[in-house]
Symmetry: C2
Subunit: 362 residues, 2 copies
Amino acid sequence: MSISKRKLMILKAIIDDYIMTGTPVGSRTLAKREDMHISPATIRNEMADLEEEGYLEQPHTSAGRTPSDKAYRLYVDTLMNVSTLNAEEIEFLQHYLNTKVNQVNNVIEATAQVLSEMTNLTSLVLVPQLEKTEIKRIQIVKISLNKALVVLIFNTGTVKDVLITVPSEMEDSHLENISNWLTELVVNKRLEEAMKQVKYFAKGDLKEHKVFAEQLLGAVLKNLHAQAGKDVVLGGAKNIFNHPEYQNVDKAKRFLALLETKDTLYKILAANNDMEFTIRIGRENAIPELKNMSVITATYRISNEKIGTFGVIGPTRMDYARILSVLHCMSSSMNEIFMHSLEPEDNNYENNGYGSNNGKGK
Amino acid sequence: MSISKRKLMILKAIIDDYIMTGTPVGSRTLAKREDMHISPATIRNEMADLEEEGYLEQPHTSAGRTPSDKAYRLYVDTLMNVSTLNAEEIEFLQHYLNTKVNQVNNVIEATAQVLSEMTNLTSLVLVPQLEKTEIKRIQIVKISLNKALVVLIFNTGTVKDVLITVPSEMEDSHLENISNWLTELVVNKRLEEAMKQVKYFAKGDLKEHKVFAEQLLGAVLKNLHAQAGKDVVLGGAKNIFNHPEYQNVDKAKRFLALLETKDTLYKILAANNDMEFTIRIGRENAIPELKNMSVITATYRISNEKIGTFGVIGPTRMDYARILSVLHCMSSSMNEIFMHSLEPEDNNYENNGYGSNNGKGK
DNA sequence: ATTAGCACTCTACAATATCGAGTGCTAATT
DNA sequence: AATTAGCACTCGATATTGTAGAGTGCTAAT
């Protein structure tokens, strides 16, 4: 059972209007639009049908209609006009990112900021995921009598450190040797491979290194897993107040509480599942607290490997078309930056913006 | 011209009451307190005087009085009863911190969380300040053809990294040599000393190293300075909603906007100036946006050196006595943790909590 | 010097009225 | 058969009014 062309037209008009104004859309206001050549009464009839089919909702009997999650889903899948940023906006975005290229983390934070600024929403950026990055160096440095810092340096420019306890009689030079030996053993490997490698290799030779190295990597893995939730950078939390839906202090508070439980945010972003773009509307989100929110995410790459996710979160009433275009642009800009800053010899990368293969969710 | 004993008693009662309830205090309610043996009318007269002297304010003619900044200042300096945490609270606090000792940054974040939880305010923690920490190791690692990561490891367990460009023909082994040479040159020095040392030492010998090392350290310094503002960790931003003063969405928004400009927060905390404790009430804060807020800070130590600052921010109506006791307890706990985790051989550290030398601000 | 008494002020809150945008239904029109 | 005009009705938003309560300053009595 498909919906008539006219119904779709009306539905689109309602959603467009509602996204712009935030107030429930009535038949009269809708009929006033110049491209509407039908009377309010007709619209009312169609609206009643659309409501029955689950596309529209009514806050109360004498209010206009608001789109349901189902309507938004239809909208993003087939109805909306895809938009592109204008030159100034692209310029702004790129300029902003390009001033921060000297540190991976700065790029991440700049991304969060500019993203929230351009969308007027709260942005989330997942830092490069370690499972996909290669170890470049492991360095163990003694910083006090029996404490040492294990520092891991990855090919993405990410640095991780874990504090461990070492026997106080262990000397710097010995730790240095272990560092070098370990590095040689696991260089250009990913973290889990590295662990396997150490277990396997260390079995036979170098017995005195083996135990220590295994313990050490075990501690590192444990700690890095434990702090996975910390790897989400936020931007524009205050933007939530710009939306009339959140003028209610209590709602705003709940939203901010959500943002403080970073594990949840991590789950939200990690659910992206390597899709180039995902859109989750209202109850499509696995997390019940998000039933009135939508999450749109995109991936970014370092050296052509999908290595992280970023996106925005906000009320289901959001300008999906614009946000998607911002994410598109952002995604290519980030990829370009990481390309240039980490692999400048390879300049003929493919254009991966504004493509057609946006694998939208569900 | 000093204030009579009775006036002080009344003022203290008003402040205590206002801190508890948040509603302007009237003469009748005050007279009902059992320890008040004077009539409402008398209190009214005294109140009128106190208002004239600038200690009390009236929201409108027929409301009760509220304390002014001046009153709070008098309160924290001489009037309030100092309190201490009960055993459960101390237990809670220490337990919370002790589960996070395996990474310096975790301790910092745990501090922010537990601090905001125990005070019901927004907490700020400044990470260890590099100016006071010693370099333990400098490691340069090539992560792509012409990019390398400079990683600095400090005695406090802090790790900093900066991305630099290197000539693509430069080999790993050469960078390794420079790393070792540099480390040897600057180990156990602070960052600025290190810079001087490199400039001085490199003048004569090792010409090929000199230019590179100087450029490198220059880039590092520049970048670390640029990101100084990032070194503030926040906790409990949402707590602002618990205060009736911030039920107004607009005010809450402005507060959150303030929290997003970390430079400001950095200034707030850095203004602590190595005082063990500081209290800044309302307009005592240099920043005009804080005219209705108070900031209370404390310092923490690593290896007995004052190395960072933490504190809370909230409406001037806050429970100064309780917050100070939380900060006291927190300060000793943190010092203890860093002592144990970094210098476990030295167990007879001095008790530095609940002392009398709290150098309060102004 | 202190307090009782009193007229006055101002906010918060509840009750009431009004307006306007929107609806569903029915009957007339195309 | 589809569309539209007309109409009675609903409901939230807003303004108006009245009332209760907590507080004040002033004056006169203690």
